[in-house]
């Protein structure tokens, strides 16, 4: 009797969230899959059911494959480098010296900016003729016009933009490491690097997993950077999956095809996340 009452109570508490979740997350997810099975122009009154044809066309579409590769390239540049930078910043800020709060604010401020603001600022920095980067480093690189440098340029900007966010999480993790362990290690004569590797790292491993997964998912959905700066150009070198999906769905109104692209990306990210959990999680719980 009491059990049932408790269950009802639990459902009542969950109801507000569940309603919104079902309405705005779950049902669009399934509806999106339904759309992906149709040849669905946004204006068409009767969309034609085509089964999995959108999926097979996407797999055979070299631009979709290019966009997958370019997104993977972006993730490879941003996720490890971004996390290492965040961790280094956090370790630096975990030391005892003055004005750490000021540094925290400085490193975190870019996170608060919208991608539009960041992109517009960096567009000036990357400008071939008037840009700060070419000016100070005495380089002559057409950063955003050369297909070799365009994606690395977007990645560098993204790392700068996002490093502060993970930095705070890593910092919280570092602060939670018990002081006794450090002291014990210090007494045993461990060098700073050994102290980090044998005491700190095992403690912050779960946090690392969390940050990696979150930034991996974030990087796989990269859109604003290339949408604002390059529109996928030059020569499709910055064409990311989400940008391609956007172009198909909202540039050309091919909703069925765009949904299929979205589902294929979901499958890729889901698989990658599973692999990461398998690689990083079990040892962390030992």
């Amino acid at each position: 009797m009491r059990g049932r009452k408790e269950t009802i109570g639990a459902w009542l508490f969950l109801a507000p969230f569940l309603t919104l979740f079902v309405l705005f997350v779950l049902s669009p997810v399934f509806y999106g899959f339904w759309i992906s099975l149709h040849n669905w122009h946004i204006l068409s009154k009767n969309a034609i059911f085509v089964g999995l044809r959108n999926y097979s066309s996407a797999i055979n579409d070299d631009l979709f494959r290019i966009s997958l590769v370019r997104t993977g390239y972006f993730m490879l540049m941003v996720v490890p480098a971004g996390n290492i930078l965040s961790l280094l910043l956090a370790i630096g800020l975990n030391q005892k010296y003055r004005a750490t709060t000021l540094y925290k604010i400085c490193f975190y401020t870019p996170v608060l900016l919208s991608v539009t603001v960041v992109a517009l600022v960096w567009r000036w920095m990357y400008s071939h003729d008037y840009g700060l980067i070419n000016h100070y480093f005495h380089t002559d690189v057409r950063w955003l016009e050369d297909p070799k440098s365009a994606m690395p340029a977007l990645a560098l900007m993204s790392i700068w933009w996002g490093a502060g966010g993970n930095m705070l999480i890593y910092l919280a993790g570092l602060k939670s490491v018990p002081k006794e362990i450090h002291e014990a290690a210090e007494l045993d004569g461990a060098r700073p690097w050994q102290r980090f590797w044998y005491t700190t790292w095992p403690w912050i491993r779960p946090i690392t997993l969390f940050c990696f997964v979150i930034s991996l998912i974030g990087a796989s959905q990269v859109f604003g950077q290339s949408y604002i700066l390059t529109q996928g150009n030059p020569a499709y070198s910055t064409l990311t999956v989400i940008l391609y999906m956007y172009q198909q769905g909202f540039g050309q109104y091919q909703l069925g095809y765009a949904s299929a692209v979205a589902y294929l990306l979901f499958l890729c990210v889901f698989t990658l996340t599973l692999i990461q959990f398998k690689l990083l999680a079990p040892r962390a719980t030992k």
């Binding site: 946004i42 204006l43 020569a235 109104y253």
Partner: protein, 405 residues
Amino acid sequence: MKPLSHFLLAALLSFCALQGCSRAAASTDKALELTFWNGFSGPDGKAMEGIVKSFNREHPGIHVKMQIIPWGTYYDKLTLGLAFGGAPDVFILHEARVAEYADHGALSPIDSMDGLDPKDFAPSVLQVGLWKGRRYGIPLDCHPLGMYYNVDLFRQAGIGHPPTNLAEFVDDAKKLTKPGQWGFAMTDIHLVGSTFLYQFGANLLSPDFRRSTLDSPQATEAVDTLLSFSDTYKISPPPQGNDAWMGFQMGKIGMVFQGTWMIDSLDHQKGLNYAAAPVPTFGPVKTVWAGSHTLCMPATLSAERRMAAWQFITYLSDHSLDWAKGGQVPVRLSILDSPEFDKLRIMREFAKELPYIHYEPFAVTANQVAPFADTAIDASLNHIDEPEAELRDASRRIDNVLRRQ
């Protein structure tokens, strides 16, 4: 108690009366409100606003509310409105997009051009707004690609008249090129690239719109010619987007090809002495890229609103001389031949191209296939790959898109 309740009742009644009164007053001068959407966010918007104002003044029964949505987001908003409700009563479509919207039944067919004389339209633009032989839109204007040139630089180089063909163009551009100054610069890959393709007899799609013809030798020849300006003749810098246009404004570039919409910003440029001329003919075909703003109505309009909307459309077409002053070349012959239009010294030069303009394919897929050629030409000019290989890739990708339909 009683007096109070009487008082309240009286107050209530008089309040109702007042309400009724004000409602009655409103209904007598209530005009039919029409919404009109376009993307004229530049100086052309001001010109259009003036025409709408005078229409509202002359037509007390109709009140047109114009909303300007920058082109970048215009089609998103319009398409959502047409798909799910909230569409405007009159709106602009670019000529190449009429097919897509008409094909999905979103546009109101115009079976009678009551009040507009088709014979008064330039013959080359009458094809605009047609889909499968039926009319869905009225061309408001035409904006062909034209040539702007720097009169002072021409004079210094001793050039008497603007070039009309490839040999003259290269010759003049060589005279105009010296350190810190270029004879020509590419300001818009899409417009200039399309013009070159058309002039060499190439096109994006076959006449039945079923396959791409970008892999033709003519297309390669067109891009090779464009590439020769920076590579062989060294009369043009590599593509640099907006910087090229800035260069012309600063008087560092002799010739550029652009649309009519640049006139206003050039007129405001101090110290720039410029003139316009038709684009030279570089290939075997005398033609030039052009676009047209097309006036359309949604299929869902009621008879009453449709009548008012049509009245507004005919008014805009009749008053396109005012439009020419802030926007684009009119397409009504009576206006083109008028002495007032002849006074617009730049616009007049663009209008000379009207008889031989070339539109983008009127295909349902026009918007889907348009970007591929630009990417290929851009990559060729930036030496990412040979023009032939780039165009072959673009052609294959267009065929991919067509196969998905």
